[in-house]
Assembly symmetry: C2
Homo-oligomer: 174 residues x 2
């Protein structure tokens, strides 16, 4: 396994569990089993490391929601929560932690949210047989809400979102 990918994987876990700022470089190098010199040779800075983490997470996330129906979208989120836990959206969290003032992070977050919204639009179009931007916006809200309500309500929040999405889809079909 590559040094960079090992580092990125370890960093994602630590950033996700303890927060971006609260995670020191010592914890990162120790978790990745590398020296700080190697870390800086490879990624340049802590912010750049976070940007890499977000880009990698976006890849994994987008692969998981490569589905054809709205119901499958929420089924994918149920899987995600079961496998990766529910501590809210790492993208929004890292952006908020830095007040949006770290360009590398803010850009990675913006790219992810754009891609996510576009994907939801595609899924809605496939499921409904036509585009429906209003329904897509509602599904985005339900997905985001499930992600964050799951922090304190657990997987039930995802189930609730899934059921609500089914009602909205049924109504859009009529």
């Amino acid at each position: 396994m590559n040094v960079t990918s090992k580092l990125t994987a370890a960093a994602e876990r630590l950033f996700d569990r303890h927060g971006y700022i609260a995670t020191g470089m010592d914890r990162l190098t120790e978790a990745a089993g590398i020296s700080s010199r190697t870390l800086y040779k490879h990624v340049g800075s802590k912010a750049a490391l976070m940007a890499r983490v977000l880009t990698e997470r976006d890849r994994r996330f987008m692969a998981r929601i490569d589905v054809r129906t709205i119901d499958a979208l929420f089924a994918a989120l149920e899987d995600w929560v079961r496998v990766e836990g529910c501590r809210g959206c790492l993208f929004l969290r890292s952006r908020a932690e830095t007040g949006g003032d770290t360009p590398e992070i803010a850009e990675a977050v913006a790219l992810h949210k754009d891609a996510f919204h576009e994907r939801v639009g595609e899924v809605v179009a496939m499921d409904l047989g036509r585009e429906d931007p209003a329904l897509a916006a509602q599904v985005v809200v339900l997905f985001e809400g499930a992600t964050h309500a799951a922090v304190y309500r657990g997987a039930d929040a995802v189930s609730a979102a899934r059921a609500a999405a089914a009602v909205l889809l049924e109504r859009a079909r009529a």
Copy 2:
């Protein structure tokens, strides 16, 4: 205006805009116009200050969502976003920043989320004429989703949630 409430108000603004950890005590004392000695006499620690901020915010938030219908709930959120901006839920953010490991903060967040969920249940019961825990869970998800999608989609996210909630309510009535 009381020293403590002036400090709490200044701290809420800074914590909300720049994050809990990223905001240093110097910025807080300067914004509140007090010395660090006075700050520590009054609140004891940074974590205790954040807990006070969250408790105060909870009071203000709960007063705003003291409504009788689901639609008014989302109208209140639209007001909140217009007045206070949209940077996500400060409760979840501060909990995530500290990894849930700061008891004073974690407790304030848990209290707020419990109160919020209970309030939504009451509003749903008033609007529908009977209790409906499943609908209440869906409204919670929509509300949380609107709060977080508004970070990157603006007030439109709240409108989408509001419309979706109306559909779910209509369906629950039938």
